[in-house]
Structure formats: C-alpha cells, structure tokens
C-alpha cells in the first residue's frame, strides 16, 4: 500500500513514513495555498502557522454554532490513523459469524434453511450447547455460492458467547452480491450495524460501527471500486461519499469525498478529483477551504482493497 498522508508539501508525518509516503518533502502547495510549518494553508488565511488547535484551523468562518475542535494537523493525523488498517471489509462480519456458528449443534440453535457448504441458516434461540456456546437472539443468513455467483444476505440480532468466553455481538444487516458476467466479476456489498467480537485486534474487535456500501468490478487484473456510507475506523468516525478508485486510472487515486467527524460533532471533508493525491479540506461545509490533505494514495488503496477475495468464501 502506498500512503501519502501528508498535507501537500509537508514533511512526512510519522505514520506516513512508516507506511511509505510517495509525496516528496518540499512539494509546492497548490494554487492559492502556501506552506507554513510543513502544512499548506490558504494564502489569505489569517490563522497563522503553528500546530496549536485553533491557530491552524484556517480561520474561515465556521458558521453559527460551529467551531472546529481539531486543527488541520490533527485532522491529517486522524485520517492517517484511520486508514492505517484500511476500510472495514464488510465480509469480515461473515467471517466472524462463520467462526461463531461453527459452534452450533443440531439442536442449539435449531436452524432452518441450512445449505451444505454455506453459512445458510435461520435461527431464533436462547440456548446453550453441550460444549458451552450460548446462542441468544436471531440470526438469518441465506447464502448461495458456485463458480459464477456468490449471494449472501444476513440479518444479525444476536449475542453468541463461545465456550472460551469470547462474545460476538451483532445487530444489523450484511449482504454480498457477486457474480461473473462477460469475463468480469461485479460485486456489491452492504454492511450496516454494530458488530463486536472479543479478542480481535481489528475494527470488529474494537466494536465496529459500520454503514458501508461498496461495489466494484474486477476485470482483467484491474479493479474499480465505489464506496459510500460511513464507519468507525481506529476509533474515528469517517464517511464516504461517492468515493471511487480504479487501479489502472490515475494510479488508483480517488475521486469523491472522504469525511471525518471531530469531537465537536462537526465534519471535516476532503474532496478528491483530477488525479491529484491531495484533496481540498473543508470544515462544516464551509465554502472556504481550510487547506489540502494529501491522503489520496492511502484512501484509494484502501478502497481498492475492499472485497479482494473474488468468489472465494
């Protein structure tokens, strides 16, 4: 993965350096921006330099009732941390559910509509297996899979406690529709809800809040992906609006918008386009940008990494 998480023209920040940053230090800022202390600001920005919160928030009018809690530097840092583990892959829920339901016994939970080789099964139970797994709630998973199609629809409203004490809390929906047609694999996923599985180190272990809708096409070794929705990533709340990336166009740089919500409950947005690694940073929908963030490579790479398993469950 290539990650350029520096604000245009900035020195590499630590996380970016760790993951490899493509943006060379000293790169000029875009038109209308100037570099201050490693960050790009509007030329007429009255915010001044420095890293103190408020000092580098750009000074633009945030509108009544909206005050930026984060500085631009902090926004950059948050985006970097958020994308370090990629965008939550919707199929992760399926995988964890598969682990949990493997502890089922014929009578606990009694499942209807089971299908060999899939996770299909509908259950509504509050029971404990002989091995000590506790299934409480409702699970509806319908799955069909062959060489050309992989369909999955799941509804989660359960708590599954495994014999080793680990607990899987699920509430929401998850779905996949993938099929091969004309030599291309077209897929779409929907993952919405709250999922938490004890003991995992990724987003689902941290208590995953997701509302992600992704679709893509894999054809001839190239991928194109579109992402909408939102998710909690590395403890930060992000959203995606018509975020698109194509592996063989613009080196995978994205178009569309990525947003992050600050502790003041307002959103910062970064708009990408024009094959640029840097996007325009705005706070609270202001007309006047606060700066530019060069997180395009990381964002594009994260998008292109979604559902990269093809038709293999």
């Amino acid at each position: 993965m290539t990650l350029s998480s520096s604000i245009r023209g900035c020195a590499l920040v630590p996380f970016a350096a760790a993951l490899g940053c493509a943006a060379a230090p000293g790169t000029p800022c875009g038109p209308g921006f100037e570099r201050r202390g490693g960050l790009c600001y509007l030329v007429d920005d009255a915010g001044g330099g420095g890293d103190a919160a408020g000092a580098d928030t750009g000074g633009a009018d945030a509108g009544p009732g909206a005050a930026a809690v984060w500085s631009v530097t902090e926004v950059e840092s948050v985006f970097g941390a958020a994308f370090a583990d990629g965008i939550p892959d919707p199929m992760r829920v399926r995988g964890v559910y598969g682990q949990a339901i493997a502890h089922a016994e014929p009578a606990c939970p009694a499942r209807e509509s089971q299908s060999a080789g899939t996770l299909s099964g509908v259950w509504f139970a509050d029971c404990v297996t002989r091995a000590g797994a506790h299934f409480d709630g409702l699970g509806i998973v319908l799955e069909a899979h062959d060489d050309a199609v992989w369909d999955l629809d799941g509804v989660a409203n359960f708590i599954i406690t495994l014999p080793d004490g680990r607990r899987f809390d699920g509430g929401g929906e998850f779905a996949l529709d993938a099929r091969v047609a004309g030599g291309a694999l077209r897929w779409s996923t929907k993952t919405g809800g709250v999922y938490h599985f004890d003991g995992e180190t990724d987003w689902i272990g941290a208590g995953g809040e997701v509302a992600l809708f992704a679709e893509g096409v894999d054809e001839g070794g190239a991928r194109s992906v579109r992402v909408d929705g939102g998710a909690v990533m590395a403890g930060h709340t992000l959203a995606f609006r018509d975020l698109r990336a194509e592996s063989d166009v613009c080196d995978g740089l994205p178009s569309g918008q990525v947003l992050v919500r600050d502790p003041g409950t307002h959103w910062w947005s970064v708009d990408f386009g024009g094959c640029a690694p840097c996007g325009v940073l705005r706070f609270h929908g202001e007309a006047t940008p606060r700066g530019e963030l060069c997180i395009g490579p990381a964002v594009g790479a994260a998008a292109l990494a979604l559902h990269d398993v093809g038709l293999v469950p």
Partner: protein, 561 residues
C-alpha cells in the same frame, strides 16, 4: 437564516418595527360573591371567569396535580385577590415539573407503551417493565420540563448537549450523570451524538421510529409537527397512483412529480439530518440503544439529497438544533402548544390575537416557559368558568368551561388527598394500559389514542368508581383505623364520633372542602350525614367514612375543575 427568521417574525406580527403587545384581557379577581354568569370583562369574550376558589382549585390541579390545601383555601376566602400570588407560587412548586411532563406528553405522545424493545431485551427484570416503558417515553419530556422549571430559554430544549435521565435510563443507555442525586437528573450521552436537547434523545425516536425503507421521513414529519406545529400531512396533494417499487423510482417520483415535490422537497432534506438515529435492524438492541455518527452522512446515498432546514443548507446533524431554535415557528408553536394544554382545547383562528400577545410576552421574557405559562394563566381562556349571557352555540362548543381531570391528575389528586396510589404488580393503574386503565379513564397512550377525553364516558365512570372505592377504604384504614398520619381527616376525628358531634360535623365539612374546594351547604351536609348514618348502621363507622369519601370522589365536582 437570521434575516429570513426576522422576516418571518415581522410577517407574523404584521409590521416592520417593534410591536406593542396587545393587552391580555385580565379580569379583576372576583370574590365569592361573583356569580359564574357575571358578564365578562373582556369586550368580546363569550365566557365568564371562575370565582377565586374555583380558579385556585383549577390552577392547583393543573400546576401541581393536587387540590388546594386548607391554608390556601383560607387565604383565598379571606382575600380573593390572593389567588394570583398563590398561582405564581404554584409555578415554582416542585410538582409543577411533573405536571408539565404530563401536559407535554399530550402533545409529544411519547408516553406510549409499545416500543420495539422490551424489558427482557434490555436485561431488565420483569418488575421493571412499567418503569422501563415510562422512562423511555418521558425522556424528551423531561428535558423540556427541566428547561422550563430551571428558567432556561426554551431554545435550550433543542440545543442543550444534555439529556435528563433517571437511574434506569443511565443503566440501559450510554448516559453519564452530570449531577448527583437520585431520580431524573441532567445527564450526557457518551455515544457522540450532537447537542440537540429533546431532538437528540433516544426516547423521542424510539417513539417515532422509522422503518429502514422510510429513511426517517416519518421522523422528519413528526419533528415538524411537534416542534413547529407544521404538519406535512395537512398539505393538500393530488396525484395519480404510481408504481413505486424500489428506492430509485421512489426518489425519482419524489424529485419530479409536482404533488410529491411539494412536501418532499423540504421533508427529505430534513430526514437526511436524522440518519444518526436510523437503524438497519429496528429490533436489535445494539442498533437502538446508541446513536450512530457514522450514518449521519447517508442522506445523499439513500435519499439523494443533502440535509437542509426548509431550504437552508445544513452542514451536519449538529446544525439541526440551532436551526430549529432559530425558526420563528418553533417559538409560536411553543405558545400555541402550552395554550392548548392549559385551555384544554385546540386554539383556532379566533385565538390569533391572544396567541400573538402571548408570544410577545414569551419573547420579552427571553423565551422563559414559566413566563409564558404565567401569561396564559392570567388570560380569559384559562380562567373561563361559564358562558357569558348571549354566548352562542359556537361559543359553548368552543370554550371549555368545565374540564375533566386527566388520569394523571386524578391519580395525583387522590393520592394527595388520601395517600392512596392505585398500583398493581408495579404498574400504576391510572397511567398505563398494559395492565391498567389509563385510556379507559379518559387518558391517552399517544399511539392508539392520541387525544385525552374531554367529556366523561362510561368507562371513565367505572374507573373513577373503583378508584374512589379503593381510595376511601385505604384512607380510612390508614388514618382512622391504624392511626396513621392525617391527610384528609382532621386530627380530632375518631371513629366513635357521630353526626351532631362537633368533631364529626367539623370533619365532614373539612373533608368536603378539601375535595371540592368549598364548604358544604347545609342541605349537602345533612345529606352526607344521613348517608353516613345509613352505611354506619349496616357496616360500621369505618365503612361509612370509606363510602362517604368514595361518594365524594365519584362526584363530578371532584373530577372536573
């Protein structure tokens, strides 16, 4: 937005400059000699005011939920003009907050009992069922009532970063207390939801839930109706039936068919601001218990529109509260709503001047709800007790000269008099319908019944009968048999006292006065004593007192005001 708000406000008041408030017609306080059919002081008002004792009783029941004390009755009998000071004091009484919750419930309809989750899904015990249902439904009402009684600007009801929660809500939802103490306290959600007062409470949106495919449109409609008195459903529309089977075709119709656009051009952008409360699964505790910040931006995806407040763009959900607070309809709606609650009728066009004057007072007070309440309590429409000579049939149908106590008032008034609260298996029998009689007693659950009864019904009579009988037995058993604290009966009364004994006659008069707010006439006292003697002869004095109290409580003069 502020310029627009100002223009709207100017339009409302019909001029471009400061407008003097039309005077609120305020009758001179009548003494007891004033007959109910005295001509009204207001030139065109078709009603005559209550006398001072009647007004005291009405205000006490409306603002505190109890009948006046003997001392208060003494004060008004000695000086009828004392009633105004007493009423002002009622607004500072701790019980006013509870009554305000009751009144707000009639408008916001959140005290329902059918939520998508039940006690066992919340990890609660069965005996917590009533408390759970009640607490969920009351959360937004408590926010508004607390703002009101603490004298904060009414705009805080939609802008504060806090909620009001009790122990149960703090147990089941991510709420931390921000003040110490038991019961309903200020608290703060810890799930990252924006500030927004009642707008950002789980309780409000559990009541007004949205199906996944409705995408919060029903909630947006409810928000407009509840907080702005602007009901999308009253807008006239006419269109041919369309085949709208999927989201895309629905959105296309909404954005292109004129009959749809009329509402949805403002409804959908408002709905887009509510996605933090939108659930993928409407029965999953993990979904319903918390706010979902990551969903705030789903409007463009699902509704194909950005969030906006009636045309003004919103950047994020945190803008919702300030936009509501800044909307002149929010303030006029507060006035109209409280007037309706205290007048016990729906304001109409004839009330325009009165509402306008009330709004001026409300604004002048800095949007203090108590000031608004005080202004309403001063007006003819609140104080009306009878029709004026020459009043028309329309006046008779419009003015509520006699008002039925709500089940909540009935419960608290009877408890205040007798100490008796009708409960069964932890359910308050007059304020729930799971195993109680709220609707049968003239109340409402906010879901299947959305307006309180204005007139007595057969089931109301049956509920009052059982309540009165149980309360009569309880107060006698407690005060006269077990020698408990005297609430209703004078300290000097003993079970051995008989009609003609000074202690008996004094007790009879005082009980009558507490229940009805006035001394009995001689014929009334004689009739009551005769009734007591008849029952006592058959079943003893304790049964006689219990029956007499029950008869008093069943009298329409008690359960109306």
């Amino acid at each position: 937005m502020r310029a627009g708000a100002l223009a709207l406000a100017v339009g409302l008041f019909g001029c471009a400059g400061p407008t003097p408030a039309p005077p609120l017609t305020h009758h001179p306080l009548p003494g007891d000699s004033a007959a109910p059919d005295d001509p009204p002081a207001g030139a065109a008002f078709a009603g005559a005011p209550l006398d001072a004792r009647g007004l005291l009783r009405r205000a006490s029941l409306d603002l505190r939920g109890v009948v006046p004390t003997e001392a208060e009755l003494d004060a008004v009998e000695a000086d009828p003009s004392a009633v105004d000071g007493l009423i002002r004091g009622f607004l500072d009484d701790p019980r006013y907050e509870e009554r305000l919750v009751d009144l707000l419930a009639e408008r916001f309809l959140t005290r329902g009992e059918e939520f998508n989750l039940r006690w066992f899904e919340m990890g609660l015990d069965p005996e917590q069922d009533f408390a759970f249902r009640r607490a969920v439904g009351e959360e937004p009402l408590r926010v508004m009532a607390r703002v009101a009684v603490e004298g904060r600007p009414w705009t805080d009801t939609v802008t504060t970063e806090l909620t009001v929660a009790n122990e149960l809500l703090r147990e089941i939802w991510p709420i931390e207390a921000v003040e110490e103490g038991a019961g309903w306290r200020w608290g703060r959600y810890t799930d990252g939801r924006p500030a927004g007062g009642a707008l950002m409470t789980n309780g409000l949106w559990w009541r007004y839930y949205t199906t996944p495919n409705n995408f919060s449109r029903s909630r947006a409609s409810a928000l407009s109706r509840l907080f702005l008195c602007e009901d999308f459903l009253t807008r006239p529309i006419s269109f041919e039936s369309l085949a709208l089977l999927d989201r895309e075709s629905q959105n296309e119709a909404i954005q292109t068919v004129p009959a749809c656009v009329g509402c949805h051009s403002t409804l959908d952008p408002l709905a887009a601001s509510l996605f933090g409360f939108w659930w993928f699964d409407i029965y999953a505790p993990a979904e319903l218990n918390v706010y979902h910040p990551e969903r705030e931006m789903l409007g463009p995806y699902y509704l194909e529109t950005e969030m906006a407040w009636f045309g003004a763009p919103m950047a994020d959900a945190a803008d919702l509260g300030p936009f509501v607070a800044d909307d002149p309809r929010f303030r006029s709606c507060a006035v109209k709503s409280l007037a309706a609650a205290l007048w016990r009728r729906t304001p109409d066009l004839a009330d325009f001047d009165t509402l306008q004057a009330l709004q001026v007072e409300f604004e002048a007070s800095g949007l203090r709800h108590k000031a608004l309440a005080a202004a309403i309590l001063q007006g003819d429409d609140y104080r009306v007790g009878a029709l004026a000579p020459g009043a028309s049939e329309a006046d008779a149908a419009r003015l509520t000269t006699r008002r039925l106590l709500s089940p909540e008032q009935l419960a608290s008034a009877v408890e205040g008099l007798t100490g008796f609260r009708w409960a069964h298996r932890g359910y308050d029998q007059l304020t729930n319908d799971v195993v109680g009689y709220r609707i049968l007693g003239g109340g409402m659950d906010g879901q299947s019944v959305t307006r309180p009864e204005r007139d007595p019904t057969l089931t109301h009579a049956l509920v009052v009968q059982r309540l009165a009988q149980a309360a009569g037995q309880a107060v006698v058993a407690d005060e006269l048999v077990a020698a408990g604290e005297r609430r209703l009966f004078p300290a000097g009364l003993r079970l051995t006292d008989r009609p003609g004994d000074a202690a008996f006659d004094d007790a009879l008069g005082r009980v009558h006065r507490r229940v009805f707010g006035r001394w009995p006439t001689d014929p009334e006292a004689q009739e009551a004593a005769a009734f007591w003697e008849g029952v006592a002869a058959a079943n003893g004095p304790d049964a006689a007192w219990a029956s007499l109290v029950a008869v008093f409580l069943r009298d329409p003069a008690f359960w109306t005001h």
